[in-house]
Point group: C2
Chain length 364, copies 2
């Protein structure tokens, strides 16, 4: 057995960069398998820290704190992709970091991500890099229809994006984004948005959950329906694409590939999330082994679990003051309520989610 | 709304007396609903402390520590019944304690428990209290067949029990138990052992899981099968009995009633467990709302969840060195592995369990 495939045994400590709800749900899944978690996050009272054996409060560029963190854990993973590439690279010199920091770097730069998708044979919408006003104009000439100009980095949940209609001034839009490196993407007139959550183990084995169908409101995921209402051939292509991404990144852990399904049945990749994903939350209640347990299994070198679902499910996010629906939601049968332990309610903040569970096969 | 039925809102802290696996799984369920937990236990590194926001290490008779604990939580519950009656009574003067300490007192004394079962119309095997050698002999005369002499208190998992065959010296057995208050119980020639896990809310509403069928080895639960293979009328009587116990104790929280089913189909109660119970662990993987979430819902004054199962299940405990089967078990599809974060492996110690999940209805 190679060092890379050695098992990190239950009882060991998993380090998690980031203290939000994804880290919290990962820590809960890790606990079921008998692992301890050590959360590293700059925030006061991070949601994940409430359920972890140890929490370090420090900045992601505090390399002394990162070194101590590395010494205290058997493996490091992360729960978000936007600020930790340097931290992940630093840690990787001291302790296994899974997924690898290259995957993180690819997924945290939209242009690099699109070029990677091209390279591994996963279709995307038309796109062009925009590093200056002249490039913006040239890109717009090549992609003249409805399009979106996005910052290459640090956008999420619809932030850092400007929609362009025919006639809009692309150079002005680029300046409004802050004159940072950007990407122009043709908007897709899609039939639906789907995602596939896939786990890949240290041995290269993969396990995919059924494609799920997503709706967004204001750029934020609102609902996920599993399985998606798509033709079997479309589901197969979506699954193939997610696996190609995981293989191409030499990935260890769980990732999600978000895709558009066009009206003529093509599958176009939109975004890689190199971590457990909001559109996989339904697996906690619909499957024996959730996306979070799969992530733990993968990063610890355990065999992946069965991704088959025992139930169909519809997940609904509770955003901002939607958490006030809690008293009604907790009365609903067939509904599991998940709250993230966040004290401050803010507009657009993910406070929790609910999963409504249905007999397998009843959602199509 | 009366004070007793006021909701303890998510974000509040639940205090748990005891730090073992039942507290751990309760804390994990509490976290899903957005609660924090504060564990109070005398042990170093208790399993529940690894997943709780706060842990106090102190003895159950350290009333200063208990007072500080009470001040830091919104409600107190417990995860075991053998040592905490005085602590529960002390805490109840300061903070809601659910279930009530009277339920704890009843369940932690076998003779008091049997008399309570008589009073609420739940059948038991023949029994007699034994507080001295002469009483032992008299009890044996009244119960002359195969019987078990048990300590009234502090026995669990088969400890503190002596089986008596015809001709055995009952007075000698009583001395061997340590001349403590004891109870002589006629052994039941049962067809199977079943249990019903029932939750009762602050409003008196109840929710029962389907009766489950248990096997024991060396006095310790080995497997649970849900649902039990019993006739509908037997299942109805078992469920009625568990509800009668919960109502009779004015109980808030989850309890389990362990019962024998005789070869002629009678249901005889054996033991009340005033807490989530090992025979209800299958509900984590077989139901949307597990026994642990029900317990949290009940003690926090939330409405109870739907106790219907989405799947049938067989739970198997991992006792002592059976934890070494982990590498094989974690490879099994349809199997969820639960480990409790205990570092020391000891004979008879519950280290974890596995739940094998089957399509609903396939286990009968």
């Amino acid at each position: 057995m190679s060092a890379a495939s050695a098992i990190i045994a239950p009882g060991s400590t998993i380090g998690i960069l980031g203290g939000g709800q994804l880290g919290r749900m990962t820590a809960l899944a890790a606990a079921v398998l008998g692992y301890r978690c050590h959360i590293f996050a700059p925030d006061l009272d991070p949601p994940a820290g409430q359920v972890a054996a140890t929490t370090t409060r420090a900045a992601y560029d505090d390399f002394d704190a990162l070194a101590r963190f590395a010494d205290s854990v058997s493996v490091v993973t992360f729960e978000f992709e936007n600020v930790a590439v340097a931290a992940a690279e630093f840690l990787a010199g001291r302790v296994p970091v899974r997924p690898n920091s290259g995957a993180l770097a690819t997924a945290s730069d939209r242009l690099r991500e699109k070029r990677f998708l091209d390279r591994v044979g996963v279709a995307t919408t038309a796109y062009a890099g925009v590093a200056g006003a002249a490039e913006a104009v040239a890109a717009r000439a090549a992609i003249p229809g409805p399009a979106i100009l996005k910052t290459n980095r640090e956008g999420y949940d619809g932030k850092g994006q400007i929609r362009l209609a025919p006639g809009d001034d692309v150079a002005a839009a680029w300046r409004r984004l802050g004159t940072v490196d950007a990407i122009l993407e043709a908007m897709v007139d899609f039939a639906c948005e789907v995602s596939v959550v896939v786990a890949r183990g240290v041995d290269g084995g993969v396990a995919s959950y059924v494609p799920a169908e997503n709706t967004h409101v204001d750029g934020i995921l609102a609902t996920t329906r599993a399985p998606a209402r798509i033709a079997p051939a479309v589901a197969a292509e979506a699954t193939r694409a997610a696996r190609a991404v995981a293989d191409g990144l030499d990935y260890v852990g769980v990732l999600a590939l978000e895709m558009f399904v066009t009206r003529d049945g093509r599958v176009l990749a939109n975004e890689i999330a190199p971590r457990p994903h909001n559109s996989g939350h339904w697996t906690i209640d619909g499957c024996i082994v959730s996306q979070f347990e799969q992530h733990v299994r993968a990063v610890c070198g355990l065999p992946l679990g069965d991704p088959e679902r025992h139930s169909d499910a519809i997940m609904e996010n509770l955003i901002g003051d939607q958490i006030e629906r809690f008293p009604a939601l907790v009365r609903e049968p067939e509904t599991r309520v998940h709250l993230y332990g966040k004290t401050a309610v803010r507009a657009g903040r993910k406070m929790g989610h609910v999963t409504r569970v249905f007999a397998r096969g009843s959602l199509g």
